[in-house]
Amino acid sequence: MLWKCFKMAINSVISNKMRSLLTMLGIIIGITAVISLVSLMSGLTSEVTDAFEEVGIEAISVAVTDRADTIELPVEHVDELAQKYPDIIQGYSPSVTMPAYIKDGTESVMSSATGVNEQYIDLYGYKIEYGRGITYIDVERMQKVCVIGTYIAKEFFDGDALGKTLQITGTPYKVVGIIEERSDSEKDSDDDCIYVPYTVAAHTVHSSKISRYIVYATNQETVEAAETLIEQLCDKDIGDDDYYTVIAMKAIAESLTSILDSMGAVLIAIAAISLVVAGIGIMNIMLVSVTERTREIGIRKSLGAKQRDILSQFIMEAGMLSCIGGVIGIAFGSLLAVGAGKLLDMNVLPTPASIIVSFTVSAAIGVFFGFMPAKKAAELNPIDALRYD
């Protein structure tokens, strides 16, 4: 019986191709919009999350902002804190940015180097491909050594950089290590980097004080605890919280994703309105169809069709229309999402959940908006229906 109903519904959809297509158009557009938007938003969210995960979601950035150069958060204090709470703080590194003019033959190239300690490269999860990283000895003795990314190695040494000398703002630095390629070895990518001991960098920029630190919590759960510890330290050393900022990457990531989530929700709500309009379109066409087929309904009833037989026939038809529309919409939406992902250079794929939900919603729209016309058909009086021309 159900199968027969299904076949009748398919026949009816096929025999009115043009009308069926126009009716489905609303659902197609609505579902296309929902699928592509959901996919894009989730692509964007994972892009953001990935970006943060690269830096490390456990990272906490500490900055001392003092123009007078009198306030200080000494390295020893941060080090002490890290020693004292090994299960909360995984490690830390000062971060001193140093402008760097690199001599390439006759011309100078503007770049920048970062002064770090021996933990930095490990904390960021960088891998040394050749040579070694910055060591404690380098920091203590202020040795003029550097670890470089593959872009620098390729650009200035044709890949063979280890043991050579790099001229940074007139000072020769010995290349002791090369970091494994992380991006595409192009300028301004992750591979365009130079690391030197922070003591050297601080000396170069004529500052004995360190104004920026990166602290890593042991894992995502201890980020808040680590943040509190650092804030307490800053409070003790600096006092006025106008002079320092402690920002956890996790908090930034969370607020960004929550903004993206609510943006996505608004977009989907707008797309959902088009689905309601589509449902009304289906209801309209089903009402026309019931009127057109009054005689057929009369015949079926005279032969013994019960109300629920007629009801299920018309609901099945409305459901069929919206389900086919839903499937086409899912296909279009997925294509659109993947295309947009290619264009924006993002990894955008429709999630299985969004596909299942879209299909269910389109089926539900058909049943919901098909119910009223179907009920009208089911309640027709067989005598009047038989006489209808």
Partner: protein, 253 residues
């Protein structure tokens, strides 16, 4: 033996504003199994209302109607549908085949609604089509058949459910006289095979093919008896056999 169809003092009253119209004005009628009865009357006489009640498409306002001993009272639409499905076979003037369905599917319809298995539906429908000599056309659509053939398909559909009563409403109305005669001969053959047939018509020459005539005028039975006796009634009421009379009556409604 209980009569197949038993109408006892049946009224059908339609309210139209303040006035009420008596479409049936106290009809009593008994039809036994195996009869071939023609209910004759002009348009507006009440014969269609009478058929609707016998066919369980409508219920009487007053009086009792028993079909196969079962009283058809205040049943719901669905219950009436089930009774129609099990006990009645309809043949309509306009054939009333569903154009989108094949001949076979059309004949299967009452069996489908009876909840029969698909394979059994097919077998029964094909057997029924064979009886009307149209088994070869099972896969065709109604529009590919002639009027006479379509009417035979609708007869096959009426027979498929093995009903107690076959109700034919102007079965020859849309056919030319030759095919109309063929259809009537077929109905006579079915009657000889033991089927109870109730024919509703305005056409006296068609009615004459039945065994018994029930003539209805203004909602009352004015003659009920064998065909042979009907001639006098016809003369008394001046209801001519000529078509023009009927045409006029049709035009008036």
């Amino acid at each position: 033996m209980t009569p197949l169809v038993e109408l006892k003092d049946v009224y059908k009253i339609y309210k139209m504003g303040d006035t009420s119209v008596h479409a049936l004005d106290g009809i009593s009628l008994t039809i036994e199994k195996g009869e071939f009865v023609a209910i004759v009357g002009q348009s507006g006489s009440g014969k269609s209302t009478c058929m609707n009640i016998i066919g369980c498409l409508d219920v009487a306002t007053k009086g009792t109607y028993k079909l196969n001993g079962r009283r058809i009272g205040n049943y719901s639409q669905d219950e009436l549908a089930e009774i129609r499905n099990k006990m009645l076979g309809f043949i309509f003037q306009q054939y009333n085949l569903i154009p989108k369905l094949t001949v076979l599917e059309n004949v299967q319809l009452p069996l489908l609604y009876a909840g029969m298995r698909e394979s059994e539906q097919r077998a029964r429908a094909l057997a029924s089509l064979e009886r009307v000599g149209l088994k070869a056309k099972a896969g065709n659509y109604p529009s590919q058949l002639s009027g006479g053939q379509q009417q035979r398909v609708s007869i096959a559909r009426a027979l498929a459910g093995e009903p107690s009563v076959i109700l034919a409403d102007e079965p020859t109305g849309a056919l030319d006289s030759r095919t109309g005669r063929e259809v009537m001969m077929f109905l006579q053959k079915l009657n000889r095979e033991g089927n109870t047939i109730i024919l509703v018509t305005h056409d006296n020459s068609i009615a004459a093919r039945a065994k018994r005539i029930v003539r209805i005028t203004d909602g009352r039975i004015v003659y009920d008896g064998p065909v042979e006796g009907d001639v006098t009634v016809m003369q008394m009421h001046g209801a001519g056999e000529e078509a023009p009379e009927d045409e006029k009556a049709k035009g008036a409604t």
